[in-house]
């Protein structure tokens, strides 16, 4: 009996001591986890898609430019005389699903894409934000250029997974495995379709140096074509894309200024078809400017 009384009095004491506590503690609820936001400033790290999405009912207009190669000499003002352009429109259907349409002047490619966020860092203490991106590329020049001995490749596809972690408020890292599938087709209907697959592993990150400026970099090694493994450093067939630059954020715009050895701005191009070499100065100055328009 005594034991029960002690037990009960313990409970009551704990209640009464509770009432003495700071009123603030009443207001703390258990659901304290906060979803991570602003892992990156823009929907792109540089070339690579970041886990960031276009917000619901927003149209994000991105205009991108890559100038000519720095090693093209003073007569071309180190590449600034020449430039290729990409215009893209991304629309947020929900906060987690974006559809996009874009056209790039290099190879005259039109691409349509869908990007979805699967899980956000911080939800049930999950350590990463995971998103996926799929795009189809329509090569408007391919059919024109196709000849007897040149295959055409009207449609190609890229599927990409983005896994990112905002390590702290300044540092965010991302890893992005991607598969690009080419469908080569002879212009003559009696030949076979050749499907070629390329696998890449993008690695990127950003570090915020002030609240409006961050330094970004990304490296995208090609590690497999069809079923052949490729050494990321010791291969002579492919050049891996490497870019370094900065994001500058003003009120409504994000300006991304960078140097990259990929001249093309659509996924298939910069993931797999990079031509410039950093060693010989085949590097392009480029920028992306994004501006969201709100349709709420």
């Amino acid at each position: 009996m005594n034991r029960i009384i002690v037990f009960l009095s313990c409970i009551f004491f704990s209640f009464s001591s509770f009432s003495q506590e700071d009123l603030l503690s009443f207001l703390n609820d258990d659901n304290e986890n906060v979803l991570t936001f602003a892992t990156f400033k823009s929907t792109k790290i540089i070339n690579l898609q970041s886990v960031e999405q276009t917000n619901k009912n927003e149209l994000n207009f991105v205009i991108s430019h890559r100038f000519g190669a720095l090693n093209s000499g003073i007569e071309n003002l180190y590449g600034l005389d020449y430039g290729s352009i990409r215009m893209s429109f991304d629309y947020g259907i929900t906060d987690d699903i974006t559809v996009g349409l874009a056209r790039s002047s290099s190879y005259k490619v039109i691409d349509a894409s869908v990007k979805g966020r699967l899980i956000t860092q911080g939800k049930n203490d999950f350590p990463f934000t995971i998103a996926m991106y799929s795009a189809v590329f329509y090569d408007t020049l391919s059919s024109l250029l196709a000849t007897e001995d040149m295959l055409k490749n009207d449609f190609s596809f890229t599927h990409q997974l983005m896994i990112a972690r905002k390590v702290n408020s300044n540092l965010s890292l991302q890893i992005s495995p991607a598969l690009t599938s080419y469908n080569f087709l002879s212009p003559y209907p009696w030949t076979l379709l050749v499907n070629e697959k390329m696998y890449t592993l993008g690695i990127g990150g950003r570090y915020k140096v002030s609240r409006s400026v961050s330094i970004n970099s990304e490296w995208i090694p090609i590690f497999m074509t069809n079923s052949n493994l490729i050494h990321p450093f010791k291969n002579k067939d492919f050049i891996n894309s490497f870019s370094v630059g900065c994001d500058i954020e003003t009120g409504g715009h994000v300006f991304q200024l960078f140097l990259t050895n990929s001249e093309t701005m659509f996924e298939r191009g910069f993931l797999n078809e990079t031509l410039g070499s950093w060693k010989s100065g085949g590097v392009h100055f480029g920028f992306n400017i994004s501006r969201p328009f709100n349709f709420n």
Partner: protein
């Protein structure tokens, strides 16, 4: 027998404790930092508030990330660049309604003065705010409106957007408390 008496007293104290607290988790706080160039007027509908009617002690708490803006980008910048919601997720006010003994449960509006400490962006400041308190059968409503200078809380506006964001922010508070 003594022990039973003790328990009875404790039980009473628990009962009285539960009667004197009025609480809500769905209070509303808005602030207005608009300028002629930009409308900045977000709403937070998940403000927690508790009032101890025994002594007039009043506490507010809210998550900064719960402020909803018209533009999603603005909301992101607010959380990332201005109030730094990942480092300082909550704002609080801990205060005391002055002359609490004069308070009566009569259903008409009563002007009150509240004095206390407000914490935003990790910086605590002493403030005195005028407000109105109104009672009904089972609820107590509090409302107030006051200005804060955001630089006082270590929130700087970049030069580039200085014309777009007001440095003095008008805060409006509306809560309806129910007995706990």
């Amino acid at each position: 027998m003594k022990n039973y008496f003790l328990i009875f007293i404790m039980f009473l104290s628990v009962l009285s404790f539960s009667q004197e607290k009025f609480i809500t988790r769905n209070g509303k706080v808005t602030f207005n930092a608009s300028t002629p160039l930009e409308v900045i007027a977000p709403v937070n509908n998940y403000v927690s508030c508790i009032l101890d009617t025994e002594n007039g002690k009043l506490v507010f708490q809210m998550k900064m990330i719960s402020f909803k803006f018209e533009k999603a980008l603005m909301e992101e910048h607010f959380n990332e660049k201005y109030v730094e919601s990942d480092k300082f997720p909550k704002s609080t006010f801990v205060g005391q309604i002055q002359n609490w003994d004069d308070f009566t449960w009569n259903g008409i509006e009563q002007d009150v003065v509240v004095k206390g400490k407000i914490t935003i962006h990790g910086i605590e400041k002493e403030i005195i705010v005028k407000g109105v308190i109104e009672t009904s059968k089972s609820t107590i409503s509090l409302s107030s409106s006051f200005d804060i200078i955001i630089l006082d809380f270590g929130i700087k506006i970049p030069r580039l957007v200085r014309d777009k964001i007001s440095e003095t922010v008008k805060v409006e508070v509306n809560v309806t408390l129910k007995q706990k």
